[in-house]
Amino acid sequence: MNKNIQLIQINFIRLVLTLAIIFFVLTLFGTSPISIFDSIIYGSMGSYSKFIRTLIVWAPISLASVALIYTFSAGMWNIGIEGQIIMGAVGATFVARSFFGDTIISPYVQILFALGFGGFWGLICGVLKVKGNVHEIFSGLGLDFVASGIVIYLIIGPWKREGIASTSGTDVFDKASWIPTIGQNEFPLLLILIIFVLYIFSFFIFKYTSFGLRLKATGVNEDAAERFYFSSGKYILLSFFIAGAIAGLAGFSQASGAYHKLVPSISGGFGFLSILIVLICSRNIFFTLIISFLFSALIVGGSQLQIKLGLDHSLIGIIQALFVLSWLILEKLKLEKILLSKIIRSNE
């Protein structure tokens, strides 16, 4: 049998099983899964303006997810992604508050700064790993909180609103610093372009370049890398820098596209959510694009659950985490393969 077809079949069976588990748990909670998903689909894609809102949430999540593919390929756990998103937002805010803030080039300068700030924050993690042999989970976690400390300090201190020192955020940016949109419904064309360019670029990097291949080799076995005469350390550093820079763009999207100001929880937990997404996509670029969109739709649609069904929005987080957990376990149990071979045998 064709290997690709079998792969699709296995993934399909796994998807059905995973959804069955989620339906079961939701029923256990005394809720109606059908009406929940109905309300989510309507709430996220029921109208053009809702679809735009989903895109605004999707932008940072898809960016952070593709960023994580680089570090996961190098075998690194980039838990510091939240901090990298936050620092990207700080970079963008820095530009928006500078003399560039009311000029038309502001968003483009912001992109550069977001890339730089995020990349720098990612690089710290990489340097600690390569030079200091510090486990990237601990340094990443630490840097996440340091970044959120910096943001809180900036919001209460130097960047506080006129007269008020509160944790509600900075002043709203000048309109010129907002991410440019198109039409009455504010379609975020620039963001969507950035996402597609990055996804296509990453696809080629991993499929056709020796850089991508070496990155993956580093992830599989650091010693193997040395045997092929390239330094795995260099590739780990690069993966963290690239991931940080792309995550910085996610922060730019949050600050200048979603909030139009800097707020304490600017990352919205999207970095951690992206880790969940990449865990189930096993570094497949195409899957990442789709799953990140579905998860974003869940978030946007889920914000309506309270009004429509009187259910708490935390249900969405449960659905997402349960999906990932069931998927990962089913992947290990290899139930689908057994099921598939049974089905084939019964057909013969």
Partner: protein
């Protein structure tokens, strides 16, 4: 008087932190990073409070919290050992799942009153001036947390079981060839650690941070991961770190009246400290040991379990 009160507050504020930090230390000593700490603590805080509320016995709440923590740890252990999954991935997903699960299931318990742990002054010795009030006039769970420090040190360093757990976390293959059932030890360490994390959660909601509200124990789980490293995987130093963090919290509350920024940023201090400690540990390990003064090593050094966070080798029985 002010000083005395501060110490009393620090000791009772640190109660859950001490328990959690020691739990995580035991787990990491066996080679397993229980990354679900943040989620485990939060959902055990809920289950502890909920069961305490339903039965009106705080003790049932504590037991429920422990049970919750050990179930989660057992699950991680199963995925780690039987399914050979990445323990970090499982722990991470469970954190996210447990946080949202506790917020969803806890809706009916927000800001209500349940059983409360009262102070229990130890007869006679609590009458000693100053010292008596500072150390012997606390709740039972606080006494337990203080006793846990030497007990866990003794357990890890002087008992066969504790040494076997440590051996499994340092070098699974060598431990296995010495006849230690590494899988069992690893599972045991993880579950004990998880039970303590759960107990810590329950002592938040039943004592230190009484009650339940959305994301009731937010960030404490991440902080204890930092404190474990600050403690260099040694119960005494970890406990010192937990008390230090308790002091930071008290200072942050006091600083609130002076500057808002300081009170928000002080509680984040453990994280940069954690990074510096890690750099220092690795630096010491790679350079000549006697290059550094001994006291510096004992304050800042530490023995990171060699197999921490790694999968067991295939041929470990």
């Amino acid at each position: 008087m002010l000083f005395e009160n501060t110490i009393v507050t620090v000791i009772s504020l640190s109660t859950p932190l001490i328990i959690a930090v020691i739990g995580e230390t035991i787990s990491e000593k066996s080679g397993v990073i229980n990354l679900s700490a943040e989620g485990t603590i939060m959902i055990s805080a809920l289950s502890g409070f909920a069961f305490g509320y339903i039965t009106d016995f705080a003790i049932i709440g504590f037991l429920a919290g422990m049970l919750t923590g050990s179930i989660i740890a057992a699950f991680i252990s199963y995925c780690d050992i039987k399914l050979r999954m990445d323990q970090i991935a499982v722990g991470f997903v469970l954190t996210i799942l447990c946080i949202d699960l506790s917020n969803y299931l806890g809706q009916d318990y927000v800001r209500i009153n349940g059983p409360m742990v009262t102070k229990f002054a130890i007869p006679f010795i609590s009458k000693i001036p100053i010292l008596g009030n500072v150390f012997f006039n606390h709740s039972l769970i606080t006494y337990f947390s203080i006793l846990l420090i030497p007990i866990s040190w003794f357990f890890l360093n002087k008992t066969n079981l504790g040494l076997s757990i440590r051996a499994s976390g340092e070098n699974p293959l060598a431990a296995s060839s010495r006849g230690i059932n590494v899988k069992k030890m690893r599972m045991f360490g993880t579950i004990i650690g998880g039970a303590l994390l759960g107990l810590a959660g329950a002592s938040f909601s039943l004592y230190t941070k009484y009650g339940w509200s959305e994301s009731h124990t937010a960030n404490y789980g991440w902080i204890i991961l930092a404190i474990v490293i600050f403690g260099g995987w040694n119960p005494f130093r970890a406990a010192a770190g937990a008390y230090g963090f308790g002091l930071l919290q008290v200072l942050a509350i006091k600083a609130q009246t002076v500057t808002l920024a300081l009170s928000q940023i002080l509680p984040l201090l453990p994280f940069p400290i954690m990074i510096f400690i890690l750099i220092f540990i690795q630096y010491i390990n790679r350079s000549e040991r006697n290059k550094f003064p001994k006291f510096l090593i004992s304050i800042l050094g530490g023995n990171q379990p060699e197999a921490l966070g790694r999968k067991l080798p295939e041929d470990v029985k």
